[in-house]
Symmetry: C3
Amino acid sequence: MKARSYLTLIFILTILLLSSPSSHAKKKNNKHKPCKQLVLFFHDIIYNGHNKANATSTIVASPEGSNRTILAGEFHFGNVAVFDDPITVDNDLHSPPVGRAQGMYFYDTKNTYTAWLGFSFSLNSTEYQGSINFVGADPLMNRTRDISIVGGTGDFFMHRGVATVMTDAYEGEVYFRLRVDMKFYECW
Amino acid sequence: MKARSYLTLIFILTILLLSSPSSHAKKKNNKHKPCKQLVLFFHDIIYNGHNKANATSTIVASPEGSNRTILAGEFHFGNVAVFDDPITVDNDLHSPPVGRAQGMYFYDTKNTYTAWLGFSFSLNSTEYQGSINFVGADPLMNRTRDISIVGGTGDFFMHRGVATVMTDAYEGEVYFRLRVDMKFYECW
Amino acid sequence: MKARSYLTLIFILTILLLSSPSSHAKKKNNKHKPCKQLVLFFHDIIYNGHNKANATSTIVASPEGSNRTILAGEFHFGNVAVFDDPITVDNDLHSPPVGRAQGMYFYDTKNTYTAWLGFSFSLNSTEYQGSINFVGADPLMNRTRDISIVGGTGDFFMHRGVATVMTDAYEGEVYFRLRVDMKFYECW
């Protein structure tokens, strides 16, 4: 009986040892299930020389031969825009903003539409306080695109994850709306 | 005999507990205590057309209608600056630099002062060799702001953390000094 | 008495199990051996006003007094280039590309050649599908430079690592080729 209970004990301890990669504060998840998930929208109105009051973004750099009020030819290759876009919880531009999406995007392919994104969500709502930092390639012509969530602060302290971006609306070259489906896999 | 088996059990459990932060090389910490901490300062003197010799940063992009020697109106919205700033261990610009803060900042709100930062510390001192990479939103008007440390090399190999940035001095629109309080939570 | 000691044991084991946030999908490695490794090359041909058809990158921003077809003086300090460069598995520009390196680099020292990099590999080959996101300082005059891999998607989902960059060829100021030796230490 003693022997058997010892065997049972050793068996349980072995299981524990094998399965116990330890005591982090960081919460992680099996099989890549997110530990936190959040869907938000942001709205970009680019300055075109005639919409100063409404514009939320502006071209700040462009290749030789182009200007900063008209997106350049060659699929806007080389256009850099800085933005300060309202974030909403639904797809309505006029919903009360829960924060600002701020950063830059630039067009970076000569024969199709792609962009590179470096920006942050600064959230300031009853539900969330803090920032989320994004970096990644955005091949605009794909229905969904994945970019990296490389860090966060406040409620998103040290978080990492993947954000699936979707163009939810696109009106000429003045307005677009992005749906950002954030899945965090490191939550702390 | 009972007593002895209990002692054995407690011994095994103790070993388990002590050895169970498992097998990563990465050192992490419960309750979000940093595994490494470091405070440094960096100093930015922006080029204004008259200070070429001393300037450590320069405006490289700006919205239509503005130039690259005067920060634009509307809270500098759309101004992009590239910088190469000395890093010091105290708040004295003339202390021996321990490295360079290099990267960019750009102003990204139309109705207040905020910036987005993408830069690196390249450290080259007796104490530290290596680089630290930062990304994040900097709402300048807040006394302290948190940005993400997204990676590092050398002595900061694979590190992640949060840096609390504080404007330590601000002289007109030519000089500012930032205090950067780095807390690393993933140290390897 | 037996029963009670068993209960105690089960209680302790339960505590242990609950406190062992454990069993990640993430694969990590002792002693900093990479869990994945990959060497790729990319090729940059900068637009100089005369090579529109072949150019893969273009100057989009520069300090006051310079233009966007000639890299500026002072070690190109303040020049920002956006690129869309083919990636190959060997050092031959004409090998079939396995993806595109897209993003930006900018020169950020006044008295030597250094750059700051923010870019992505978008891979689309039989071997790899997905993106890898890079951020970091590139002191060009060093034979090898380490930058951070801050995230990835697809086959590189949530990956982190360090990339060692090497200038494999440099022809005047028009063409350069970088060898990128990626070592991933977080593989998921």
